[in-house]
């Protein structure tokens, strides 16, 4: 039950933590020197880590396969967009909207969970997949008769995060250092992410976390031990959805524009891949998976074309095609060599190796 012990001796551990902290603090400036686009990519990566952590509660802790997770991200994003944009001419402050977004997403989680949690495995996956699509299609069509979501055009000019006069969208210079908008967002997101990780670690090692594990391991035995399995699964859905909702709100503010196109099925699959690649059930694994799958495709985007131009004088294969190709290859290699993920949780690893030998 204890977390994975990366560093055996405590001094090395604290040194490691300090180094990682310094690297994370310095990272946006290093990225900014390459191009501001990279800071934005880092911000999106943090959002994906956020999403993966949320999905990990559902898939990793409670063992419920959810293929429509991006719907909660969408709900959070739209809540933010509707309450802080010229669309309804509402401009609530972000620290009010983010909790509202999390709460509404949580409500949607319960709404989805209550009728479906009697289903198991594949059946639950199919229903959640359907739910994800329903939400997206609603967002696409709720522009008539009353225009709520503005349909496929999406909502633009969404307010950035702002504390009074301090806006996260403007750049500022402090002591000669230029803090651009994305860099300011980066630090805020990093802070929120740290909080999210702490929340996840604490949940995992608690009475609730154990109940999730019990349900994942053997539902009938869990029930016979007095665990209200329906309630505890619903709680996993609600918690996961809240994380999705929070991330959605931040996404809307950072992008300044959202449309249903950002919340398609592939995004759900992507977040699930992050969780699985990193190692279901292990928080650090999930973080690693999300960071890898956020950065590697971008790296490819910036290297594949110049490389081909240099080698052949023209671009033969589109970066997008290569990306999918490598993605497929990575999945096959994973299945063969690390079916439980890059940094698997000990428990999950046992489950999966047992399943493989049976």
């Amino acid at each position: 039950m204890r977390g994975v012990n990366i560093f055996a001796n405590p001094q090395a551990k604290w040194l490691g933590v300090a180094l990682i902290a310094i690297a994370l603090i310095g990272l946006p400036f290093a990225l900014a020197s390459v191009g501001t686009a990279w800071v934005r990519i880092a911000n999106l990566a943090i959002l994906f880590v956020f999403l993966s952590l949320g999905l990990n509660i559902v898939v990793g802790f409670a063992g419920l396969l959810d293929l429509g997770y991006i719907a909660f991200y969408a709900v959070g994003a739209y809540v933010y967009a509707l309450l802080a944009s010229p669309h309804f001419n509402l401009h609530l402050p972000f620290w009010v909207i983010l909790p509202i977004g999390a709460l509404v997403a949580c409500l949607f989680g319960v709404l989805l969970g209550a009728p479906t949690l009697k289903l198991r495995g594949d059946y639950l996956a199919i229903v959640t997949l359907g739910f994800g699509e329903i939400v997206r299609i609603f967002l696409n069509n709720l522009s008539q008769p009353v225009n709520i979501t503005n349909g496929p055009q999406g909502i633009s000019r969404i307010d950035p995060f702002r504390f009074g006069a301090f806006s996260f969208s403007q750049s500022e210079s402090v002591l000669g250092l230029v803090f651009s908008g994305p860099i300011k967002y980066y630090y805020l997101l990093l802070l929120l992410l740290l909080l999210a990780i702490v929340v996840n670690l604490r949940l995992q090692h608690s009475r609730i976390g154990r109940a999730w594990e019990a349900v994942r391991e053997d539902e009938i035995a869990a029930r016979a031990m007095g665990i209200n399995t329906t309630g505890i699964k619903l709680l996993a859905f609600a918690m996961g959805a809240s994380f999705g909702g929070m991330a959605g709100g931040m996404f809307a503010a950072i992008q300044g524009f959202i449309s249903p196109e950002s919340f398609v099925l592939v995004e759900s699959v992507m977040v699930l891949s992050m969780v699985v690649l990193g190692g279901m059930g292990n928080i650090w694994g999930v973080v690693l998976g999300a960071v890898l799958l956020s950065f590697v495709p971008e790296l490819l985007r910036y290297t594949v074309e110049p490389l081909q131009k240099a080698l052949f004088g023209r671009s033969i294969i589109e970066p997008e095609v290569i990306r999918m190709l490598l993605f497929g290859l990575a999945l096959v290699l994973m299945m063969l060599y690390r079916p439980a993920g890059l940094l698997p949780s000990a428990v999950r690893k046992r489950e999966l190796t047992k399943a493989a030998t049976e």
Partner: protein, 261 residues
């Protein structure tokens, strides 16, 4: 001593055309070890499943300490005081022995999401108490040394003991054991017998399904015999053993003594 703890009234359970339980009625007194025997397919496990809310009975009902429990969910029944083990061990097999027992404490503890996130003092204290109690119970059943081992990798006999410890963690009034001695050798069975006597001495009533007649005869105060879902005999173990109907059910013949393993 003759205060009734569990009372079953005319329980019926039907699977399609098969009557798995037919008007089964009996009562268990507080502090008793009550045996449930019968040939394979007699309905013993079905009765357990009804008593623990896995199946709903089609007719009849049952009461624990005067409170009607029929129709409740498994977890509600566990909360009201019936804990069980399973014939084909159902541990949380990839978790440690300690975690298995700690999960058993779930129903007697309260920390929720906010407690877990904020790690309030109450939560931390509760968590420490859960771990302490779980370790005590592992010691109680005699496998304290294996606390951090994965349940799946424990020897068979220890898995059975762990299941009992996990059930005890829910603080049951009635402990229902489904063939706890199955697959055990003579020494292990003897140790199990001592353990169950100790559980009883500590005030927990036991309902026991068992095929090991020596164990049943040596341990149970009273025995109920099921055959084809019907109760065919009930009473003190020695008397039931000589009942011609019981002998016939087991051996299908006219032998004079039962020595079924």
């Amino acid at each position: 001593m003759s205060e009734v703890l569990l009372e079953c009234m005319n329980l019926d359970k039907r699977f399609g055309g098969v009557l798995a339980l037919a008007e089964v009625g009996f009562s268990i007194n507080r502090g008793e070890i009550y045996g449930l025997i019968g040939p394979n397919g007699a309905g013993k496990t079905t009765l357990f499943n009804v008593l623990t809310g896995i199946y709903a009975s089609d007719a009849g009902g049952f009461k624990l300490a005067g409170e009607a429990l029929s129709g409740l969910r498994s977890d509600q029944i566990a909360a009201r005081g019936i804990a069980r083990t399973f014939q084909n061990i159902r541990l949380f097999s990839n978790l440690s022995a300690l975690d298995n027992v700690m999960i058993g404490r779930h129903v007697r503890t309260r920390a929720g999401v906010f407690g877990a996130i904020l790690r309030s003092r109450a939560t931390l204290e509760e968590e420490a108490a859960i771990e302490k109690r779980a370790l005590e119970l592992l010691g109680y059943v005699g496998i304290a040394a294996r606390a951090n081992e994965v349940a799946l990798q424990l020897p068979y006999g220890d898995q059975r003991r762990l299941e009992i410890a996990r059930a005890l963690a829910t603080e049951p009034k009635l402990l229902a054991l489904d063939e706890p001695a199955a697959g055990m050798n003579a020494t292990e069975t003897l140790e199990l017998k001592k353990l169950l006597e100790r559980v009883r001495a500590d005030g927990i009533t036991i309902l026991l399904i068992e095929h090991d007649m020596k164990l049943v005869m040596g341990l149970c105060d009273r025995v109920l015999v099921l055959d084809y879902g019907r109760s065919i005999a009930e009473g003190p173990a020695r008397e039931v053993q000589r009942d011609p109907r019981v002998i016939e059910a087991y051996l299908g013949g006219t032998t004079t003594g039962v020595s079924v393993a």
